[in-house]
């Protein structure tokens, strides 16, 4: 944009990326980063890779998250117990999803688009309350109607679903499906409460 602003020595793409990712509180797309850095997507990708490597070092406390909408910096999971102290309790206590919600989400993610009845048939329990809740949370959305009697709503997962579970894209979700094929002994589901 304003050429005259760019006085002083030039920064490396890595440095500009770090500054941009630091300032943003939402994921930045590759395209956005390209605009900011004024360089090629390839160099952005390479620099992001290098940043990721650097962050793996023990003296660094951040991670580079790859999300459906782009890249974002976060703190390392191991730092959680420390940095939590920065926040008031109510601020960071994020409620976990209930088992019912997780099971319902699993079905929707694997079988989408799927109707409420189909979900209920698999779990053997009513699903309206859970689905309403997931819709409210934005983890699930209505994708259309099934062209059968009664034209029931079809549900699918959202980008926020991927983000919530730290999945980069739908391909990573597909990897999850491989659990379908394995036949391990069924592990006891840990108590959530």
């Amino acid at each position: 944009m304003e050429e005259d602003n760019k006085s002083g020595q030039a920064l490396s793409t890595m440095a500009i990326l770090e500054a941009a990712l630091f300032l943003s509180h939402e994921p930045l797309s590759l395209e956005k980063l390209r605009q900011v850095c004024e360089t090629t997507p390839q160099e952005i990708r390479d620099s992001l890779e290098k940043i990721k490597e650097e962050l793996e070092k023990d003296d660094r406390g951040l991670v580079l998250l790859e999300m459906p909408q782009g890249y974002q910096l976060g703190t390392k999971p191991e730092a959680a117990a420390y940095v939590e102290k920065l926040f008031a309790e109510e601020e960071y206590t994020r409620t976990s999803l209930s088992r019912a919600a997780l099971e319902t989400l699993a079905i929707i993610a694997m079988k989408q688009p799927v109707t409420r009845l189909e979900i209920e048939n698999i779990r053997g329990v009513k699903a309206d309350g859970v689905i309403d809740n997931l819709l409210k949370k934005g983890l699930v959305k209505v994708t259309g109607r099934k062209e059968v009697l009664g034209r029931p709503l079809l549900f699918g997962i959202t980008e926020e679903f991927l983000q919530y579970f730290g999945l980069k894209d739908l391909a990573e979700l597909e990897d999850l499906k491989k659990i379908w094929l394995t036949d391990t002994v069924f592990p006891e589901f840990g108590e959530t409460k």
């Binding site: 999971p77 976990s96 999803l97 993610a109 053997g124 069924f186 959530t192 409460k193």
Partner: protein
């Protein structure tokens, strides 16, 4: 920790939940019972499992826990299967209708349902692990400070600091001179000054000056005199004075045609 809090202020129902395993529906309970038997899912001892299932329902009822209808449907389904196996030569007394109200009509169907349920449970476990991991990653929240951070880092602030220093210096000057009394001579060389200024206005083809252009004098008397002259010229309509905004620059304008007349 959260369990404790819940325990304190919740009703009976939740307190029982702490003691008894909670099941997310009839399949969940059934799965738990089969799991306990440590048998292959295809070799379910149906009679035994059915009995245990019913026992569990009974204990729940004794604790006055409201059972969802689905648990009873499952009980009916299991009993139906059991009866079928006892009477293998009569596949169905009430074909169609009866089965529709049940979860499954044959042991194969039951196993298929259980397997499907198991897969989703496994995926749910995987999601749970991911959730736990993600919850420990903190992101920057949108903060109002953001803009300030950027700005403070812009090369602007050293400039501002310089400006502040200049402001100090200027003030210092002002401070010293402010209280000084200026006495003007009784006979002000007014007309001479008017001619002088008019000459300037005529000589140049500009028609816009800044007040500072005229007041840029070293002698205080000179400044005061010039100021009065400009006011006089404005009064006579030879120039007009304009100030765009408060504390802004004061412009001295000479209308083009008038400038010629002067």
């Amino acid at each position: 920790m959260s369990t404790l809090k819940k325990f304190k202020n919740d009703n009976d129902k939740d307190r029982y939940c702490v003691k008894l395993p909670v099941f997310e529906g009839p399949f969940d309970l059934l799965f738990h019972l089969i799991n306990k038997e440590e048998v292959d899912i295809w070799e379910i001892p149906l009679a035994k499992i059915t009995e245990e299932y019913l026992q569990y329902l009974q204990s729940m009822q004794e604790l006055k826990i409201d059972l969802a209808g689905e648990f009873l449907v499952m009980a009916a389904s299991l009993l139906y299967l059991k009866s079928q196996m006892l009477l293998p030569q009569h596949p169905s007394f009430f074909p169609g209708e009866e089965e529709e109200a049940l979860f499954f009509g044959s042991k194969e169907e039951l196993v298929r349902c259980l397997l499907e349920y198991k897969r989703f449970k496994l995926i749910a476990i995987n999601l749970k692990e991911r959730e736990n991991q993600q919850k420990r990653i903190f992101l920057r929240s949108p903060g109002l400070q953001r803009v300030i951070i950027v700005n403070r880092q812009c090369s602007l602030y050293p400039h501002d600091l310089e400006s502040l220093k200049h402001a100090f210096q200027q003030l210092k000057k002002k401070k010293v001179k402010r209280t000084e009394m200026i006495s003007l001579p009784e006979e002000m060389p007014f007309n001479h000054k008017i001619r002088q200024i008019v000459a300037i206005l005529r000589k140049n083809s500009f028609f816009k000056y800044f007040l500072d252009d005229f007041l840029n004098k070293t002698e205080k008397k000179e400044i005061v005199l010039t100021f009065f002259v400009l006011l006089e010229l404005a009064k006579r309509g030879r120039v007009s004075l304009q100030q765009q905004n408060i504390f802004g620059e004061i412009c001295v304008l000479t209308p083009l045609e008038r400038a010629k007349k002067l």
